[in-house]
């Protein structure tokens, strides 16, 4: 069912929340922040697999950049230690800079890719960096039981 929305504003006012999908963390490389690129079955009819995977891969790259342990992070760490970490009162850490980039990217993705398809991505930091929450919206005018039933069948089929 093609549910077309023009922008985020319209999505919030004219659509009702039907379901939420949670993309879990991928711990195969340790405790660094990385999300699974496995395509959730509930989104099969809503968005192309490649678009979804691109979003998650870009987010993973951002997080990898934030948590990279290399020359710059050592420099930041040593400088901060030398000032008894008081420098963080006036300076923004590298991680915080990347988080701002991530917030912008998610906003842009929501506006361009997800809202037109009736979906909305929540920034993982609002969920404790545990999951990427994707909200599935249904147009209020339509008989929106399909999304609900597909989620039930999706979970039992797993």
């Amino acid at each position: 069912m093609a549910t077309e929305f023009h922008n985020l504003q319209e999505l919030r006012h004219s659509a009702s929340l039907a379901n939420k999908v949670f993309v879990q963390r991928d711990y195969s490389e340790g405790t660094t922040c990385k999300f699974q690129t496995k395509f959730p079955s509930e989104l099969e009819s809503r968005i192309e697999r490649t678009l979804f995977e691109d979003t998650v891969k870009t987010l993973n790259n951002y997080y990898a950049e934030a948590e990279k342990i290399g020359g710059q992070s050592y420099l930041e760490g040593c400088l901060a230690c030398a000032t008894a970490y008081l420098i963080f009162l006036c300076m923004e850490t590298r991680y915080e800079k990347v988080l701002k980039k991530i917030a912008k990217y998610i906003q842009e993705q929501n506006e361009k890719v997800y809202a037109p398809r009736g979906l909305l991505i929540t920034d993982p930091i609002e969920r404790g960096m545990r999951v990427i929450e994707i909200s599935i919206y249904e147009d209020r005018g339509s008989s929106g039981s399909s999304s609900g039933s597909s989620s039930v069948s999706g979970s039992t089929a797993r």
Partner: protein, 395 residues
């Protein structure tokens, strides 16, 4: 008695579950019991004050003025590290909201399949492979999440903490991913400070005794006795602790893992987080990135306050609301408490025309009290085989 719902803006820290105390409007986060932390502060500040009062004048004149200067620098560094450890968020993982908890429950139910009646369902464990080792992720019944690797639930603070090391009563906070390096630097610098003060106390007593005699020296500087006593007992514990944590650091282990013996023994899994290189392990923890807090303590959120409708008495608690409606609107007020207000920013007066419309609309997905979907009842620890056996053990 009927009530009118009035929304007001609150900081998110006021709504956080868990047993933490917050100060300075959410900027400071500590555990509930702070008595031992005050003792630590008192001992450090007290001993150093005695040192500056009794020893430093003599040593500055007779030895070198750099001695008190270095002592001051070290003292300030110790204080900064202590306060940083105590006041910062150790890496608390927020609890799962209703929808996420339900989603996880449904996944668990699907994975378990059909459990015959009378049998307990299998324990809630998820296996993940990290660097070719199988690591088990446990489910936290309080936070309703599968704990990330190395996370653990602190029963004192009632929170899941990422890379949980231990709960330290001396700093009045948990030690976890975000504040472990501050804790380590605190113990290291405190060891140095203790050794420094102890050494110069002895030097001072010796130098003065040569001129005046031992007993006279003690009479002139009574603080020295106290300092030596405190430093002597502190030395053994703090230096030992620093040594222990240096050992853990070199292996990239946490105190929690060491106590539980997670990576020790031949049959058990080897530590998948260690780089097998001491310097690399130390650098990763001490010079790694500074992780942000995911709690957003100072963010703003809405809260609904029920204000009882008496006669025409105005509400005094909320500053942003309009005066309480009079008794002629009592019926509408009763209706208001049953039907949730959809746009949270509206005042009760504005909401009156929409009461009829609100009865038809579905409840809004508010974060605080979302409507409970038709979901399987969230399980309790008693239903699990493993947790019922391990009931007495700590998390």
């Amino acid at each position: 008695m009927s009530a009118v719902m009035i929304t007001r803006k609150v900081r998110k820290w006021e709504k956080l579950p868990g047993k933490n105390t917050f100060c300075c409007d959410g900027r400071v986060m500590m555990a509930r019991q702070k008595g031992v932390f005050y003792l630590t502060l008192f001992l450090i500040v007290g001993t150093c004050s005695l040192f500056f009062a009794f020893e430093c004048p003599y040593l500055a004149v007779h030895l070198s003025p750099t001695i008190p200067v270095f002592a001051i620098v070290l003292f300030l560094f110790v204080l900064a590290m202590l306060l940083r450890t105590s006041f910062s968020d150790p890496g608390v993982l927020p609890r799962a909201l209703q929808e996420e908890a339900t989603f996880i429950e449904m996944e668990i139910e699907a994975a378990n399949g059909n459990v015959p009646a009378g049998q307990r369902p299998p324990p809630r464990i998820r296996n993940v492979q990290i660097n070719n080792q199988i690591v088990k992720l446990k489910y936290c019944y309080t936070c309703k999440i599968f704990r990330p690797p190395r996370a653990s639930h602190c029963s004192i603070c009632d929170n899941c903490v990422d890379r949980f090391d231990h709960h330290c009563p001396w700093v009045g906070n948990c030690v976890g991913k975000r504040n472990y390096r501050y804790f380590y630097l605190f113990t290291l610098s405190l060891s140095l400070l203790t050794i420094y003060i102890f050494t110069f106390d002895i030097v001072h007593v010796v130098m003065r005794s040569v001129d005046n005699g031992f007993l006279n020296t003690l009479k002139e500087t009574p603080g020295t006795v106290l300092e030596v006593l405190v430093c002597f007992f502190t030395l053994w514990s703090v230096v030992g602790l620093t040594g222990f944590h240096t050992y853990l650091l070199s292996l990239n282990q946490t105190t929690n893992e060491d106590i539980k013996g997670s990576w020790s023994g031949k049959n058990r899994v080897q530590n998948p987080y260690s780089h097998k290189n001491i310097i690399k392990n130390c650098c990763e923890v001490l010079c790694g990135p500074t992780y942000p807090s995911v709690l957003d303590r100072r963010g703003l959120t809405q809260e609904d306050l029920p204000v009882p409708v008496a006669s025409a008495a105005p509400s005094s608690s909320s500053s942003s609301s309009s005066p309480v409606p009079q008794t002629t609107h009592a019926v509408l007020c009763l209706q208001k408490t049953k039907a949730p207000l959809i746009p949270n920013k509206r005042t009760p007066d504005d909401a009156k025309p929409s009461i009829a419309a609100s009865a038809q609309k579905s409840p809004s997905p508010k974060e605080e009290n979302p409507p409970a979907p038709k979901a399987p009842p969230l399980a309790s620890p008693e239903m699990d085989v493993e947790t019922s056996i391990n009931k007495d053990k700590t998390h």
